[in-house]
């Protein structure tokens, strides 16, 4: 008895759709196999079919409100197909560092270093303009000097490690690869001096807080035809507050962007 109830329930479940279909009308297969009725049978069949039609048709289906996800997918920005680079650059930095000289004035010295740049807005933002605006530099540079007489002299090396976010504005349009920017950052300066007096050498080293600010123009013209790799270059004027002195860098960098 219990088994019969279960099977009945199962049958009811599967039959629910059959019942619903039957309420809407016969299937095409049933119509094709049906005997061809006589005229009075046709009228009766028609009456039977009208009786089998649902009492009320379903309302016209209205277009649902677009969800946010659907809207986002519809408005998917394809600018990355125009610029397939992922926004990572590696550059060689070169230029003239005007060190704040302890004797007064400035001490011009050659500076070189390496810089890594991440154009994070290119990866994280979709707005065609805004994604061109932001990047962050991670940089190491070195400059040095040897001063004194043959008997008494000092060899000084200045290392600078900085991280500096920047904001640029594509003044010449988002399609041109040149962007002027301003930048603010911070880091650490490590200074090492070797004092030599005769044959005696004394090493002194220490760190100082470094504050960086500057401006420049950054360029990313295409290197190869498909744009996967671009030349990355920069011309800049950057100031460094090294402890309680100010250094000025005039120079630039050259590298590649992936």
């Amino acid at each position: 008895m219990r088994r019969w109830v279960v099977w009945c329930l199962v049958g009811l479940l599967s039959a629910t759709s059959a019942f619903a279909a039957k309420k809407k009308g016969r299937s095409k297969a049933e119509v094709d196999d049906a005997p061809i009725p006589f005229s009075d049978q046709e009228q009766q069949a028609e009456e039977d079919e009208r009786r089998e039609l649902p009492e009320r048709s379903e309302a016209t289906r209205e277009r649902p409100v677009e969800t946010q996800v659907e809207e986002e997918e519809r408005l998917q920005n394809l600018t990355h197909t125009d610029d397939p680079t992922i926004g990572l650059s590696a550059e060689l930095v070169l230029g003239l560092m005007l060190l704040d000289a302890s004797r007064g004035g400035v001490d011009p010295r050659f500076l070189w270093g390496v810089r890594g740049t991440w154009e994070w807005s290119r990866r994280l933002l979709t707005d065609e303009l805004v994604r061109e605006m932001f990047f962050v530099d991670f940089q190491w540079t070195i400059t040095g000097a040897k001063e004194g007489t043959t008997q008494v002299f000092g060899v000084t090396t200045n290392h600078a490690f900085t991280a500096a976010p920047a904001i640029g504005y594509p003044l010449f349009g988002v399609k041109t690869p040149f962007v002027p920017y301003v930048q603010l950052g911070a880091g650490v300066a490590w200074q090492n001096t070797s004092l030599v007096v005769g044959t005696q050498e004394t090493q002194i080293g220490g760190t100082k807080f470094l504050f960086q600010y500057g401006l420049g123009i950054r360029g990313r013209p295409v290197l190869f035809g498909d744009g996967q790799i671009k030349v990355s270059f920069r011309v800049e004027l950057t100031r460094y507050r090294r402890g309680y002195v100010d250094d000025t860098f005039l120079g630039g960098s050259l590298g590649v962007t992936f």
Binding site: A101, S102, G104, A145, G148
Partner: protein, 437 residues
């Protein structure tokens, strides 16, 4: 979380702390390049007692100024100011084309074994300036000591134009002065210029050299009364002008040596220029302790006949000056009364007593009678300020001998009335034949 919220403030505080210049109160412990007891130069811990700003190397004794530019050009149209007689302030403006500005000494702070902070210069010029300030300080302390309680405030607040550009166009050429340290009275400042050929101990690190230049500062203050251009230097001619210039150099050498005796380090160095100069001829010529520092016929003739520019161009002011310095050195050391000689010499710079007029008074008295300013008069001024008769006797003997004074008597009272009756000439020097009348 409170700790996380405080993190940016902590970072900002640390950043600002690191960005501030060290500004410890005197006495400041700092490393400097000085000579040890064995005369080996090297980094040693010193205390700067009069420093006020260690990063600007500014203190009671001296202020270091960087980036200054001096141009001596006789054709400068600005000399026409004040009807061709510029005031001292105008003169400074004419000559000092760029007054420069504060230096910015670079230090790394470390703790010594006792946990006290010690400043270590972080580049060569900071080592040079800090070491030099220490030497200026020692020089002031020397003069303060031998002034023996007399006021010394006028010797403070010296200006030192460090690594200055000094161009001399007076010879018709544009010559940049290098390898030198000088006191330039028209701008009332010391000038430490870049080195080029000199490659031994920098002049700024040489105690005797800095002491010598400080000696000029003291002579300028006490003998010339602080005048930028003393009238005697422009109005007198040979031999008075040559003798006056030589006095300044000789006394500066004597005091420079005296400062090496008093300052920490190896002790007395009569040949202090040897640490910095390479020329053995020049070094030998400036050695106060050499018993052969004597007048020669050539020098005696040059004092009388060479005009002052040429006299100085041949460094004969140093030659003659060294004779004075050697006489003072020998007299002081032979009697063991060096400090008495030092005090007497300084007292002789400015003495308004009618019986014992000092050099300042003699210059004023003889402004228009420069012929009276002779080697004998100079010797007498010094001797008359020595109260110890034995020392006076020895000094008189040294002056007679080394300067080959043309005394008519054995005591030389005709030229130096202050010499005692027991005076006899020294015997270190060959006797020169009498001068042609």
């Amino acid at each position: 979380m409170p700790a996380m919220r405080a993190l940016p403030l902590v970072a900002l505080t640390l950043a600002l702390a690191g960005a501030c210049a060290p500004n410890p109160q005197a006495p400041v412990k700092v490393m400097a390049v000085t000579a040890s007891a064995s005369n080996a130069y090297g980094p040693n811990l010193v205390e700067l007692k009069t420093i006020e700003s260690i990063t600007e190397v500014r203190g009671k004794v001296a202020t270091f100024i960087g980036g200054a530019r001096v141009v001596v050009d006789p054709n400068d149209p600005l000399f026409a100011l004040n009807n061709g007689n510029p005031t001292e302030e105008q003169l400074i403006t004419i000559l000092l084309k760029d007054q420069g500005g504060p230096v910015r000494a670079n230090f790394i702070t470390k703790k010594d074994e006792a946990g006290t902070e010690v400043l270590w210069p972080a580049d060569f010029h900071t080592w040079n300036m800090v070491s030099s300030y220490f030497l200026f300080e020692n020089s002031y302390l020397y003069f303060q000591q031998i002034l023996d309680g007399a006021p010394s405030e006028e010797l403070l607040a010296a200006k030192v134009l460090y690594w200055a550009s000094y161009k001399d166009r007076s010879g018709g050429k544009d010559e940049e002065l290098v390898d030198n340290a000088a006191f330039f009275s028209p701008i009332k400042s010391f000038v430490l210029v870049p080195f080029n050929a000199l490659q031994k101990v920098p002049l700024a690190m040489n105690q005797g050299v800095i002491g010598h230049e400080y000696g000029h500062w003291v002579f300028h203050k006490k003998v010339y009364a602080g005048a930028a251009v003393p009238p005697q230097l422009t109005g007198w001619v040979n031999p008075a002008a040559n003798i006056l210039r030589a006095l300044d150099e000789g006394f500066a050498d004597f005091h420079g040596w005296g400062i090496t005796c008093m300052a920490p380090g190896p002790g007395c160095k009569p040949n202090f220029v040897a640490d910095s100069l390479s020329s053995t001829t020049e070094v030998s010529a400036r050695d106060l302790s050499s018993p052969t520092q004597c007048m020669t016929e050539t020098l005696r003739n040059a004092v009388k006949t060479l005009d002052n520019p040429n006299f100085r161009a041949q460094s004969l002011d140093y030659r003659l000056g060294t004779l004075f310095a050697a006489a003072l050195y020998q007299a002081g050391n032979r009697t063991g009364k060096v400090q008495v000689v030092q005090k007497a010499l300084l007292a002789a710079y400015d003495d308004s007593a009618a019986a014992t007029p000092g050099f300042r008074q003699q210059l004023s008295l003889n402004l228009n009678t420069q012929g009276n300013f002779t080697l004998g008069l100079v010797g007498n001024v010094i001797v008359s300020h020595i109260t110890d008769m034995d020392l006076r006797r020895v000094l008189c003997g040294e002056l007679i001998d080394r300067l080959q004074l043309p005394c008519t008597t054995s005591t030389c009272k005709d030229l130096m009335p202050a010499c005692p009756d027991t005076t006899i000439s020294g015997t270190s020097c060959p006797v020169l034949p009498p001068e042609n009348p």
